[in-house]
Amino acid sequence: MNRRKFLGLGLAAVALAPVAINAIDFRKEKPDAWTAKTIDDAIKALYGDVKPIESDKIKIKNPKVASNGGAVPVGIKSDIDAKSVALFQEVNPESAVAVWTVPEGGIIDYSTKIKMKASGTLTVVVEGKDGKLYKKTTDKMEVALGGCEG
């Protein structure tokens, strides 16, 4: 066996300098986050190599059984002093669903409707002003009718 050995180059983790301005279009700033196939990759692309902490301060409201995967109501609440909130799921072709920028004086109480291709879990990541990441994952949600085909 004459195999070449490749040395894994330890890339210096570039510290992400968070920009403290409003109006960040995360699609332009972090294009990789929107094509990432897994939640972990998407979090990495969005926030850098930071391990999120599991937190009970994030409340996710979602139905246990969603009859229509084309419009699953999801609510996110938290009292963490945050810069941004990101919503991911594990079953669609890409993981990221939406990223909210929390404006000054903003309250984290967001609801929207999302598409789910199949049964799966939702993950919410809150980026605190203290620079830490908080994470919460829901229980598996049953989706009766997948919502991505239409």
Binding site: A23, A98, P103, K115, E149
Partner: protein
Amino acid sequence: MGNMKIKAKEKDGVVSAKVMAKHPMMTYDQAKKKGKEANFITHITGKVGDKVVYEASTSQFLSKNPLFKFKFKGAKKGDELTMSYTDLSGATVTESKKIK
């Protein structure tokens, strides 16, 4: 391109807003099947005056005619809430409504 329905109500200094954007939110998968271009809302903002009160970057996985519900402080009755979204094709839709 469609429009938006906005409802905003102030109570005890907190404004609750409900916005429904009319948009097909065509995913890449759906577009392939139907032979159309994928198109979905990529960015939506809410402003009162010059102040941004809501901002979200979104993907194709929001539902058709997506609903955005949120709360914020720092506005009063009679102020105007201006919502504006941009979709993948570059179209921008802006609608305003007075806070009740």
